[in-house]
Amino acid sequence: MTIDLEDLGLDAGGYLIVQRALRDLPIGSRLAVHGRDPALRVHLAVWSREQGHGIDLSGPAPTVVKGSATTARWSRARRAGDPGPDGTLPHADVRWGLAMRGALVEEGGPPLHADLIDRGVVWAEAAQQLYQHGAARQWNPDTAVRWDAPFALPSEIEGAVVQVMTYLVENEYAAMQIPAGFIARMHPHYREVMQVLAIQVADEARHVEVFTRRAMLRSSEMGVSGAGGRASLQTLLDETDFSLAAFLLSVLGEGSFLDLLEFITRHAPDPVTREVAGLALRDERRHVAFGMAHLKYAADADRALLGRLRTAVERRHDALADTAGLNQDVFDSLVVLAAHAWTPESLRSGWNAVQALQKAMNEGRQRRLVQLGFPSDEAVELSALHTRNFM
């Protein structure tokens, strides 16, 4: 076979033409390379040597004799699944490293330091859809909230809002760190799940932003942070099992937060508080949906999972038995926030609203537990063991 590089040098990309011509030839084939670059002969000899091809300079045109090295490099390469949403394999090989799903992976290279490498352990059928949904609904904290909306609150009411925001922010920190830690441990073969978690982290970052900004809007002094609440969050941070963490954080914790954020949206004493809670609520619905989708998938793959979920709730309850759970100041602030005013009548209505909130949270948790396959009596029992910190 013969090719002509015209005046293109091998050093300026000419080797691509040679490479392409050699690609489909059998080993041992001869390829005569014509061209007008004065260094062609010398460079072709070097290039052939480096690539493991032979070179014959005896004729009028230098001739490459195809060697076996290029074939050898890829002879043991394997495809890492298929790129599409149905292309995942039940087990992802750490030796694929960061190769794209569907890529032809050369053997060798450092193995990936990932331990979440089984589909049954991380997957959710709705992952891609939830990612796309989340990506399409990102909002700008600066413009999505009317930060200059006029309002004035009595100082006690404002103080209650600041306290609730102080509480929310520390919960958002936990919700941001937990998925971030799992991203780092996950095999990118299950990229849709990584993407969902990444959007979730970005969501929580925005929640941190808007809650912080609302807290600082009228006040320079933030609320208190109780040791019991932080102990509760620490047990979430300490949970290293992806499914158990999804259960405790997303299904039970964020699930309870749906009711909490809805409560704040409904009872907010000012438009900014209402808007920030409403925006976070939209995102949290998606976080809960992913947790549920994942656990349904994981429970199908592993019938023993429900038992482990149950144990996880009990273990966490025992670990937190000696702590206060929800800070009394946070509880009181929710009452005051919903009361809007410092009168007995208003406080009564705030109190009743918080009672209704706790009932709604409990029912919501029970409903989700039943959806996951727990019998209703067990759902009642487990919901009651959930942390008093809500998250």
Partner: protein, 283 residues
């Protein structure tokens, strides 16, 4: 008994390469170890004296070891070499616009070469020039770029400095191995028409793995067999082979060192007995 090999540490990657190869060889039942030298002269002397059993020799180290062994009545064998050690060429390069068309145009010129002990960038091209009646001190001025003296030209720095001097107009011609010409073109040091090759040497061979008089024949045979059996399909070996710049080991041959033997004699670099003669060579 262990087969002890010497290699010259011309680059930190030498440790990676031989640690990796050592693991492979030991895993395949060959008791093998290596020691690193800072230059080739002591390695060649130790090989012939039996202080090491094998040496990963530059072509010039092969020439020296062969001469030392001849004088001492010791036996050497060129066991294996890389596929990329066969049929290399050196080139003599001028600036594209210089008007020099052939070697005769270099009469009275200044020529940039590599380190004093570089076969490819100094000894062989100077021999080519000499055979065309061009010699230092008579009708040629030599400008030497001594980088990595003692490494027998393994360090590309001297060639690169000579190439830079050519582009800067400080020398009329520069000498280098063919692969460096392509390398400098890829790096952009040479642009499309900035240089022209006016002469090439005949093909010659580069490194070989030499076994010396102390090598156990059975271990040496196993060493050869294992090296020749290294497959580029093996991912772990492939990364080492890539670092060492080969796809496959080939049987050793000594037919490709004639030109260098002559160049060494012409330059009075080594004596017939392997003595160091070049008085400006301080490895």
């Amino acid at each position: 008994m262990t087969l002890l090999m010497g290699a010259v540490a011309y680059d930190p990657k030498v440790v990676t390469i031989w640690e990796g190869f050592r693991r492979f060889l030991v895993d395949h039942g060959l008791p093998f170890d290596f020691i690193l030298y800072s230059h080739y002269e002591r390695q060649a002397e130790d090989l012939v004296a039996g202080r090491i059993d094998a040496a990963w020799n530059s072509p010039l180290a092969w020439v020296r070891a062969r001469r030392l062994a001849g004088a001492a009545g010791a036996r050497l064998e060129a066991l294996v070499m890389r596929d990329t050690d066969r049929d290399l060429r050196s080139v003599i390069v001028v600036r594209g616009g210089s008007g020099v068309e052939s070697l005769s145009g270099l009469d009275g010129a200044t020529v940039g070469v590599g380190a004093v002990d570089s076969p490819q960038a100094t000894l062989l091209p100077l021999s080519l020039l000499r055979n065309h009646g061009l010699a230092a001190g008579t009708n040629l001025t030599i400008r030497r770029f001594d980088v990595g003296v003692g490494l027998h030209g393994d360090h590309v720095g001297g060639e690169r400095d000579a190439a830079r001097a050519l582009i800067a107009g400080e020398v009329d011609a520069a000498c280098m191995i063919d692969a460096s010409h392509l390398l400098f073109a890829r790096e952009g040091l040479f642009t499309a028409s900035s240089t022209r090759i006016i002469a090439e040497t005949e093909p010659y061979d580069h490194c070989n793995m030499t076994t010396g008089p102390s090598a156990d024949p059975v271990l040496a045979a196993r060493f050869r067999e294992l090296l020749l059996g290294m497959s580029y399909e093996d991912a772990e070996l492939r990364s080492l082979l890539d670092l060492e710049g080969l796809k496959t080991w080939r049987p050793g041959r000594t037919s490709g060192y004639q030109a260098l033997e002559s160049a060494v004699d012409e330059a009075r670099f080594y004596g017939e007995d392997g003595a160091l003669l070049a008085d400006d060579y301080r490895p």
